[in-house]
């Protein structure tokens, strides 16, 4: 990964010399956080500063239709994802069509995922309504894989009498690091994971009034796990299909966001060479934000996720594992309140508190350590100060 970051820096500097125009932006954010009765963010109910986000992005414009863009990020999110630097995106942005009624862009390289409401900017603190996004759709164990992939992304917009239509398509693959494998499968996983491909398409519509935004997206992806010679897991694979229905409503004083998700998984191997499991997870969230003043707003959200729609309270999971995995690992319901205060231009203070019942989105595959450290009811809070330019 470090070699890739060095390569990206060199590429941006070298190409910057022949550019028609360059522009640079970035953000820095630091917070304090605590997860209580869970190791979701911090260990042993500790209050820590494991909420650091630094980002620096550049756009090197060669001419009106071609640009090279990239972003380097440093993240510390406690146990939510791997601590350290990463290259979030680095792609050629090619404007293929630009007219009054339509525009189309092709991104080649490490592109960003534009298919869900917050997927394109989930890495940018001041674009998120909360530090922790609703885990039903924005599962943090999958953060790096879901943010973007190496491949091609296409976006077309059509401005018609029926409103604004946006079509997105992408095909790529993400490298799955050892840490990400362990974040998803647990610390007992000694082997390596690979994403074969991820294929996504989405369609969004806004009426002429622009106060609504409706979208539907589809994802198909295959993952493989190559077990280590000495490993708790065996070789295995997972095929995923995901449908997301997205909705936003904008009013002068308040806005509403909601996404509904269905995720179909076909798991083969992993626990034993003959293991086979079909599972459909369902969930979604609804979120309201009220603008008390132009600079202060309050937020309330309810997020729910059931690991298996045929086992919504997790009793079958508990029975199937002989009581080893508690039933509450079969679901996760979260109620969140938050506030935002824009202290000054480009400065923001944001806080939130989450009350969680269940642990269905703590980790992909549950390990004994997680079971011992996660209670049925747990909480999480954070306060974050951010600056961007």
């Amino acid at each position: 990964m470090n070699n890739l970051i060095i390569f990206a820096c060199m590429l941006l500097v070298v190409t910057g010399a022949v550019a028609q125009q360059t522009s640079w932006h970035g953000y820095i954010s630091q917070g304090v956080t605590q997860s209580i009765n869970s190791r979701f963010v911090t260990d042993n109910d500790a209050i820590t500063a494991e909420l650091t986000e630094l980002g620096f992005n550049g756009r090197i414009q060669f001419n009106a239709s071609l640009a090279l863009v990239g972003q380097l990020v440093y993240l510390d999110g406690g146990n939510r994802f791997e601590q350290g630097s990463r290259l979030d995106y680095l792609f050629l942005d090619w404007a293929l069509i630009e007219s009054e009624v339509t525009s189309s862009h092709l991104h080649l390289g490490r592109y960003k995922n534009h298919h869900w409401l917050y997927s394109a900017t989930r890495d940018v603190p001041h674009t998120r309504d909360t530090a922790i996004l609703p885990q039903s759709v924005y599962f943090d164990s999958f953060r790096d894989i879901a943010l973007g992939s190496d491949g091609a992304f296409w976006q077309s917009e059509f401005r018609t009498d029926t409103g604004l239509w946006q079509f997105n398509w992408s095909l790529g693959r993400s490298k799955v690091s050892r840490e990400q494998t362990r974040a998803f499968l647990g610390p007992l996983a000694k082997g390596s994971s690979k994403q074969d491909f991820v294929h996504q398409a989405s369609l969004y519509w806004q009426p002429v009034s622009l106060n609504w935004r409706l979208g539907l997206s589809y994802l198909a992806s295959d993952f493989y796990y190559d077990a280590a010679p000495v490993d708790t897991f065996t070789d295995g694979s997972t095929d995923i299909e995901r449908f997301v229905l997205s909705l936003q409503y904008f009013s002068e004083k308040w806005e509403l966001s909601a996404e509904l998700l269905q995720e179909q998984r076909d798991n083969r191997g992993g626990f034993s060479p003959t293991f086979r499991q079909y599972r459909t997870g369902e969930g979604g969230y609804i979120q309201g934000r009220y603008m008390l003043t132009p600079s202060i707003s309050a937020l309330v959200r309810y997020d729910t996720y059931d690991v298996d729609k045929n086992d919504r309270n997790g009793t079958k999971l508990q029975q199937a594992t002989g009581g080893m995995i508690p039933a509450y690992f079969g679901y996760m319901d979260t109620t969140t309140i938050g506030f935002r205060w824009d202290i000054a231009s480009n400065w923001r203070l944001q806080g939130e508190h989450h009350w969680v019942e269940g642990a269905g989105r703590i980790q992909g595959v549950v390990d004994p350590v997680t079971i011992r450290s996660t209670e049925e009811n747990w909480r999480l809070w954070s306060i974050q100060l951010m600056y961007w330019f």
Partner: protein, 156 residues
Amino acid sequence: MAQMDRLQIANNSIYLCLLKAAVFWCSLIVSGAYAQTLTIITNPSVTQTTFSQSEIRQIFSARKQFWEDGSKITVFVLAPDSLQHKQFCQQNLNMFPYQLERLWNQITYSGQGDPPLLKNSQDEIIKAVLTTPGAIGYADENVIEQIKRKLRNNAE
């Protein structure tokens, strides 16, 4: 003296532009809540003389970053919490300022372009637009009229 010369040239540009081609497109809907009529202004280097509402939305939401001749568009706006910006967003873009800011953030932080530049007053917007090649902004007709009157008086 050189500075004065440049200032004079700039003022001439302002005068010419405002007289010749400043009012390219303007909001015809003035609701009771807003007493001002905002007008689109561009730098004299911009050859386009008419804009549809769709184009204005594309430009001010940072989706459109280049003019037809390939030159860069630089957009100037007032602070998002100003009354004039709110009026401009609602009447001309069909958006609330926070919607527009979200689009700017999406475009800026997913590498798709640059956001508009913020100015503290309409006078500053007019000066910035008219001294920046490829620039576009908005201002109240009365403010533009005052500047034109001042320039005429200076010329006399």
